[in-house]
Every structure is written in structure tokens, then in C-alpha cells.
């Protein structure tokens, strides 16, 4: 299995934001292995965690996500993040 990386996004919370983000991956034929999303800031924003396989296109993906109007912040966790480990209990 290739190395997996977690991307943490702070975004506006409204219908369509997830489509904008996932669309960036879909149209580059780049699979998103895992997604977690919860509202924060009383629901005005959401935090999204994406689990993706390491790929040479990742730098470009991070820049593209950063460019989206509804994305406030993009963080890369190259060593992974415990959020998906904890979620694994439900699968």
C-alpha cells in the first residue's frame, strides 16, 4: 500500500463546498480514500479531513484547494492524522 497523507481543510459550511473539493480530485482521476467532515464555529464553517495516497500531484492539489473561494486554510499532515485511525473502529 502506498503512503497515505491527511489533508485538513477549513471551509465555509454550505451545500456545494464538498463538491468543489472532491471535483478537483475527480477530474484528475485521483481517488480520495477517506473523508471526514464536521461543522465548527457554530456551523458557519466546517473542518474536512481527506485521506489520500501520496502522489506527485499532491502539491498541485493543495494549491488548487487553497485557490477555492470557500476554502480558508489547507494543512498537510504528511505523517497522517489520528482522525482516521479513530474512525476505523466504525468500519
Amino acid at each position: 500500500m502506498s503512503k497515505q497523507i491527511v489533508i485538513e481543510l477549513s471551509v465555509n459550511n454550505h451545500p456545494g463546498v464538498m463538491s468543489h473539493i472532491c471535483g478537483l480530485f475527480v477530474r484528475r482521476v485521483y481517488n480520495v480514500e477517506g473523508i471526514a467532515c464536521m461543522p465548527v464555529n457554530d456551523g458557519s464553517r466546517s473542518r474536512i479531513w481527506l485521506l489520500v495516497n501520496a502522489d506527485e500531484r499532491l502539491d498541485q492539489m493543495v494549491k488548487q484547494m487553497d485557490k477555492l473561494q470557500d476554502v480558508h486554510d489547507v494543512k498537510r499532515h504528511d505523517g497522517g492524522h489520528e482522525v482516521f485511525g479513530k474512525m476505523a473502529d466504525f468500519f
Binding site: 451545500p15 456545494g16 463538491s19 477530474r27 502539491d59 498541485q60 494549491k63 488548487q64 485557490k67 477555492l68
Partner: protein, 558 residues
């Protein structure tokens, strides 16, 4: 104050300075049209297809640099706009498409003329909105303008459900219009480093694209070229940044470049790429593009750095701001050795223009038209052989003179874009080179041209074929011409007459130059028909996927 959502939209558009809106009404945007009709200050251009409305908006935006607006109804109205929006995305053109949508409560019920406009437009817009209340319009409309023209420009879609258009709200004040935001803060170190690389270069080349035009930096780019004695190659979108007859102008590079232009690129040691995105038609095989060059990439969109070619140095920011700081740091040079080497390459590998003296040949008609219309003219094209020929040989003088569908390569762009150009610049001549394949993809807009009485001069270069497709079948598919010839010869003169448009048929002319001159001098729209041979390829040509050094045709002594 009390206004409906539709009235709010129209008033906000008026406050943005919008004078012309192209579009088509339908069930889901009728409140918007009713408000537009009551407003009376904005001119509406009723098109015959929503794609035509989109390209009219593009024509206006490309000429003026300011965002232009167009309207469509829900469902098929919205889907018909998609090609024009995708085209604007690839060429970074600020247009705003406002679509009607079924009422909020009916969204998701497969209502009549319902389609997911928001979902469909995500990958082809810079940003898009689905408006969920009339109050949101106060924020969304100015934001849409700000987004469309700030940073790297691009199209914005605003989908407005019918009940949102009809909802009445009370409010105290109008919001400020959305404006272009200042570019990001520059990093002085990046610019100093770029200047030092440029100053140390022995064989530098400027590689200038649409971003130079978008940022209003053509003058400074030319000053940079002149101060550093740096020869300049232009992308299809960058034509006009440096005048074609300027001694440092290398013309367009890439798939249909003059031989010497592509050969010069092979030699350069520093490539200063400004407002370009290294499109495959410009670079050819990427690994062999400017193989010995360090790349200095200057752009407002950081996504473009290292996307196609690894940069040696990048400078992020508004090209206009960057060049103001960069220019004083550039050492004045004469680079006589490098310029002599280029002159020799040019002498041995010049741009060959077949039959240039014949005004009814594929190249001759372009050159003769250019001569007759003069420097003021705006030049629009469709997509195909006529487009590449015009890009190769038209004598460009300044930016925003050249309107062409670059990234998406949309056949059907030319006629509506020319209408938009004429609406934005009513005092200037507007010509449109088209082909018989392309013009048929938006020929219905001849009716719009007639109704609006815009003086566009359409030069229809007719080879009764899909010329570039035929050319590829000739070169790369064993001359197996399939689905690229039209078996029926359309009578374009009769078609134009049917639309009430003036015509000039150079096929039957005894004195084509005199007839062409008379046709170009007529007021109002006119279609000028020029039949040409199918078997005249556009040369040189770099095969798809090959390096730019491997050009077919266009040799000096053939």
C-alpha cells in the same frame, strides 16, 4: 427601500456599470427580464442561442478587460451556456452568467426545465453561487464581480431560483460595487533573484502570454524586452503584447510557429515566462521544450508554477506590480551576439507565407484585409486553419486587438465574440475571420448582428471541409479523409441574405481587392465569402506530442 430579488439584481448590475446584457428569457428568469425591461438603462441583446450570449459577453470582456454579464433561463438555457463558460475559464476571461432556476421548493424534484446548474458549472467556473434568499444577493452580486476580475480572472455563475427573484425584501442601503482587489504582496527577494538570473543570462527569451494582457502590463513587458534586449516569443493568447513588426518580436511559438521561432527557443539559456501556463500547443513535448533553459516564471496564480515545467525561480503576484519593481533592476544590454544568432536563424528559417500576394488565397486574404482595415481594427477568429494563419501572419500592434478561443478551441466563437467586441467598442472596425465549419456552429447569431446593426465584417474562408482535421488526416492518418469533407456545398451568400446581412462574394469577383475594400467600408454587418482550396495545409506544423524542433513543412527552399 423595498425591492424584489430581480430588481435588486438589475440595480446592482447597473451600479456595477453594466451597460449591455446578452441573453435569452424563459420561464425561470422572466422576473429578471421584467425587472430589466422596467429598468430601461441597460441595453439587452436578444441572442438566438445562449452560447451566443456567452460569447458576446466574452467579446465585451476581452476588449474592455471588465466583467461582462449574460442571462439564461434554467435547464436547456443553462446547459447551452456551458461551452462559452468553459471557454472563459480556460482563457481566464471575466464573465458573469446569471441563470434562472426552478423555485427553491421544487429543486431536486425533476421539475420542468430543472437541471443542476450549480453542479454542472463547478469544474468550468472560477466560482459559482446558488442563491437561497433575496437578501444574499446584496453580498453575492458584488462578490461575483470581485471574484471574476481579481487575481487570475475567470467566469462566475450565479443560479437564481425563480422565487428568490420574486421575493420582496426591505433594506436600507445598496452595497458598494465589487471591484478588482489589489494583487498579493510581493516578495522582494523573489524579484531580486529573478532580476539577477535575467541579468546574468546570455541567451534569454521572454515568453509572454495572456496574463500580460489581463494585468494591463503589455507596455512594461515591452519595456523589459527593450531594456534587456530580450527577444520575445508570444503565446496565442499573448499576441499583440509586442507589436509583430518589433525587432525583438519572435511571433507565436509552438505547434504552428514560424520555424525560426521554435528553433530559437531551443537555444535559450533563460526563459522568462510571464502570464503563461505552458499549454501543450505552445510547448510541444514538454521534456524537450527549451531544453537548456532555466525557467523564471512570473504569474499571479501559484498553481501554474511547476505544473508543467519545473521552475528555477518563480515570482508570485500581479504581473503589473512585479514588472514595476523588476524593470529598474534589469541591466541595460545590447546582446548583439545573441540577437545576431537569432537573425541568422530567422534568415535561414523564415516564416514562409504561400501566395501572400493573391488576395483570394488563404494567407493573402488575411494580409489584404489587415492592410485595408488598418491598425484600429479588432480581429476576432473562429477556430481552425484560418485562426492559425491569422495568428501566424496578422500584423498585431497592441494588446486586446486579438480575440480568439485559445485554450478550449471553440468553433463558433468568432461571430458572437465579434458582436460583443463591436458592442464594447462601437467606434472601431471589427473583423472576424471564420471558416465554413466554425461559422455553422453559431450562424444563428447573424440574426443578432443584424438586429443590433453592429458593423462586424465576417471574412468566411470556405474550403468546404474541417480543414485542420483534414490536415491531420493528411499527415498522420494515411490521407484517409473521413468525416472531414462536407458533401453538400452550403450557399453562404444566400444564408447571409436570409438573415438580411450584406454580402460580398469574392468567388465571382472580377476585382477582388476593390470588392473587398468596398465591402469592408460598408456600414453594418457583412459576410465576405472567400472560397479556398482544401489541400492547403497550415505550415509549419509540429505533430501532437512531438518536440517543437520537429516541424513539418514551411521550409524555405521547397
Amino acid at each position: 427601500m423595498k425591492c424584489s430579488g430581480a430588481e435588486i439584481i438589475i440595480k446592482l448590475l447597473e451600479r456595477q456599470g453594466i451597460k449591455v446584457i446578452a441573453g435569452i428569457p424563459g420561464g425561470a428568469n422572466l422576473p429578471l427580464y421584467d425587472a430589466l425591461g422596467q429598468n430601461g438603462k441597460i441595453r439587452h441583446v436578444l441572442t438566438r442561442h445562449e452560447q451566443g450570449a456567452g460569447f458576446i459577453a466574452q467579446g465585451m470582456a476581452r476588449v474592455s478587460g471588465d466583467p461582462a454579464v449574460f442571462f439564461a433561463t434554467s435547464g436547456p438555457g443553462a446547459t447551452n451556456t456551458l461551452t462559452a463558460i468553459a471557454d472563459a475559464k480556460l482563457d481566464s476571461i471575466p464573465i458573469i452568467c446569471i441563470t434562472g432556476q426552478v423555485p427553491l421548493g421544487m429543486i431536486g424534484t425533476d421539475a420542468f426545465q430543472e437541471v443542476d446548474t450549480y453542479g454542472l458549472s463547478i469544474p468550468i467556473t472560477k466560482h459559482n453561487f446558488l442563491v437561497r434568499s433575496a437578501e444574499e444577493l446584496f453580498e453575492i452580486i458584488p462578490n461575483a464581480f470581485g471574484i471574476a476580475c481579481s487575481g487570475r480572472p475567470g467566469p462566475v455563475v450565479i443560479d437564481v431560483p425563480k422565487d428568490v427573484q420574486m421575493a420582496v425584501v426591505e433594506f436600507d442601503a445598496w452595497p458598494e460595487p465589487g471591484v478588482r482587489e489589489a494583487g498579493p504582496e510581493l516578495i522582494a527577494g523573489e524579484i531580486k533573484r529573478a532580476a539577477s538570473i535575467i541579468n546574468k543570462a546570455e541567451k534569454p527569451i521572454l515568453f509572454l502570454g495572456g496574463g500580460v494582457i489581463q494585468s494591463g502590463s503589455a507596455e512594461d513587458a515591452l519595456a523589459l524586452a527593450e531594456k534587456g534586449a530580450i527577444p520575445s516569443a508570444l503565446t496565442l493568447m499573448g499576441l499583440g503584447v509586442v507589436p509583430s513588426d518589433h525587432p525583438l518580436c519572435l511571433g507565436m511559438l509552438g505547434m504552428h510557429a514560424a520555424r525560426y521561432t521554435n528553433l530559437v527557443m531551443e537555444e535559450c539559456d533563460v526563459l522568462i515566462a510571464i502570464g503563461v501556463r505552458f499549454d501543450d500547443r505552445a510547448t510541444g513535448q514538454v521534456a524537450k521544450f527549451c531544453p537548456s533553459a532555466k525557467i523564471v516564471h512570473i504569474d499571479i496564480d501559484p498553481c501554474e508554477f511547476d505544473k508543467i515545467k519545473t521552475t528555477y525561480a518563480s515570482v508570485m503576484g500581479d504581473v503589473f506590480d512585479i514588472l514595476k519593481v523588476l524593470l529598474p533592476l534589469i541591466e541595460k544590454k545590447d546582446r548583439s551576439e545573441w540577437l545576431c544568432e537569432i537573425a541568422a536563424l530567422k534568415k535561414d528559417n523564415p516564416m514562409i507565407i504561400p501566395a501572400v500576394g493573391d488576395p483570394v488565397s488563404p494567407y493573402g486574404i488575411i494580409m489584404k484585409t489587415a492592410e485595408l482595415v488598418g491598425n484600429e481594427a479588432i480581429v476576432c477568429t473562429d477556430v481552425g486553419q484560418h485562426q492559425m494563419r491569422a495568428a501566424q501572419v496578422y500584423p498585431f500592434k497592441y494588446p486586446r486587438q486579438w480575440l480568439t478561443s485559445g485554450g478550449l478551441g471553440t468553433m463558433g466563437f468568432g461571430v458572437p465574440a465579434a458582436i460583443g467586441a463591436a458592442l464594447a467598442a462601437p467606434d472601431r472596425p471589427v473583423i472576424c475571420f471564420s471558416g465554413d465549419g466554425s461559422i455553422m456552429m453559431n450562424i444563428q447569431e447573424l440574426a443578432t448582428a443584424m438586429e443590433q446593426n453592429v458593423g462586424i465584417k465576417i471574412i468566411l474562408i470556405n474550403n468546404n471541409a474541417l480543414g485542420l482535421v483534414r490536415q491531420q488526416q493528411d499527415l498522420f492518418y494515411g490521407k484517409r479523409y473521413y468525416a472531414s469533407n462536407y458533401s453538400h456545398h452550403v450557399d453562404f451568400i444566400k444564408i447571409a441574405e436570409g438573415f438580411g446581412i450584406n454580402t460580398c462574394d469574392l468567388a465571382t469577383s472580377d476585382d477582388p481587392v476593390a470588392d473587398l475594400a468596398a465591402a469592408l467600408a460598408e456600414p453594418g454587418p457583412i459576410l465576405i465569402h472567400v472560397p479556398v482550396n482544401q489541400d492547403e495545409p497550415v505550415y509549419p506544423m509540429v505533430p501532437m506530442g512531438a518536440p517543437n524542433s520537429e516541424m513539418i513543412g514551411g521550409e524555405k527552399n521547397v
